[in-house]
């Protein structure tokens, strides 16, 4: 019985802040008007609960966090959005990723002031995302 009560808080934690979606954007790119577009596209994707888009020079890194119960759809969401952004911004190097590593690092980039550092970091992350082993 005591054990049951011990686990109650863990189940209740799942109920909090259920339907909020946060989208943050780092925008140092010259391309105007794209900010709202990206925000809209991410907001339309129901499976995603957190999104960060980093615009810098000609790079665009979109890192997303997919809802835990829909994690099996990760790859499909990635492919769909990648295609969509590629068509939308043919002059940008776009990478859409649902990987936690990329999300974690992009979150840090939001605070970064030095633009060159952000460019380097984004390029490093794109390299990292290609690695298979």
């Amino acid at each position: 019985m005591a054990l049951t009560f011990f686990f109650v808080p863990f189940f209740l934690v799942g109920c909090s802040s259920a339907n909020e979606q946060t989208i943050r954007i780092y925008n140092e790119s010259e391309v105007g008007g794209v900010r709202a577009d990206v925000e809209g596209v991410i907001a339309e994707t129901d499976e995603v609960y957190n999104g960060i888009a980093v615009f810098v020079e000609d790079e665009l890194l979109v890192s997303l966090q997919v809802k835990p119960w829909l994690a099996f759809k990760k790859q499909k969401i990635e492919e769909r959005l990648q295609k969509q952004f590629d068509e939308q911004y043919p002059d940008l190097n776009v990478l859409v990723s649902t990987d936690f590593k990329l999300y974690w690092e992009s979150e840090k980039l939001l605070e970064e002031k030095d633009q060159q550092k952000v460019v380097d970091e984004v390029q490093k992350l794109k390299e990292l995302a290609k690695e298979e082993t």
């Binding site: 990987d99 936690f100 590593k101 990329l102 974690w104 990292l128 995302a129 690695e131 298979e132 082993t133």
Partner: protein, 151 residues
């Protein structure tokens, strides 16, 4: 006493197996082991240059190392007695099977003892793992070449 009588007496005396309790124990301990594994995955993702795709290998290596040390100290046996399948099914159980077999063969020397005993239990896991992986890959290859699925 004939065989039937013996069986009925035996069934009366044997205490009932606490299935539900065993399942709960295995669920809890197995879950805790997997939670630790997941924490290690996040450790590698956050502090090193590993992505979700690549962090699996160092995580497995770390879990195997931890379980090997626990086996050597004799602690994994106690955990196994309590949790049963919960401690045998995760990769830590595999590590335990390798290390305990190696310890068992230690007295017979390094080559004929440790060398020949180390995969006594885990050998079949490796054999059938490789075997089934080969066949799954073969089926997928056929499906891809026919055009049913993509890679």
């Amino acid at each position: 006493m004939d065989a039937e009588q013996y069986q009925s007496i035996e069934q009366q005396i044997t205490p009932p197996t606490p299935y539900l309790k065993n399942v709960l124990k295995a669920f809890l301990i197995g879950g805790i082991i997997c939670t630790i594994g997941h924490a290690i995955t996040y450790f590698y993702i956050i502090f090193f240059d590993f992505t979700e795709k690549t962090s699996g290998n160092p995580t497995v290596a770390t879990m195997v190392l931890i379980a090997a040390i626990l086996t050597g100290l004799g602690l994994y046996r106690k955990l196994g007695q309590f949790a049963g399948a919960g401690s045998a099914v995760p990769v830590t159980g595999f590590s335990n099977a390798v290390v305990s077999a190696a310890i068992e063969g230690r007295t017979e020397g390094l080559v004929l003892g440790v060398g020949s005993n180390i995969f006594k239990l885990a050998g079949s896991v490796i054999l059938f793992g490789v075997f089934s992986a080969f066949f799954v890959a073969l089926i997928k290859l056929i499906l891809v070449s026919v055009g049913v699925v993509e890679w």
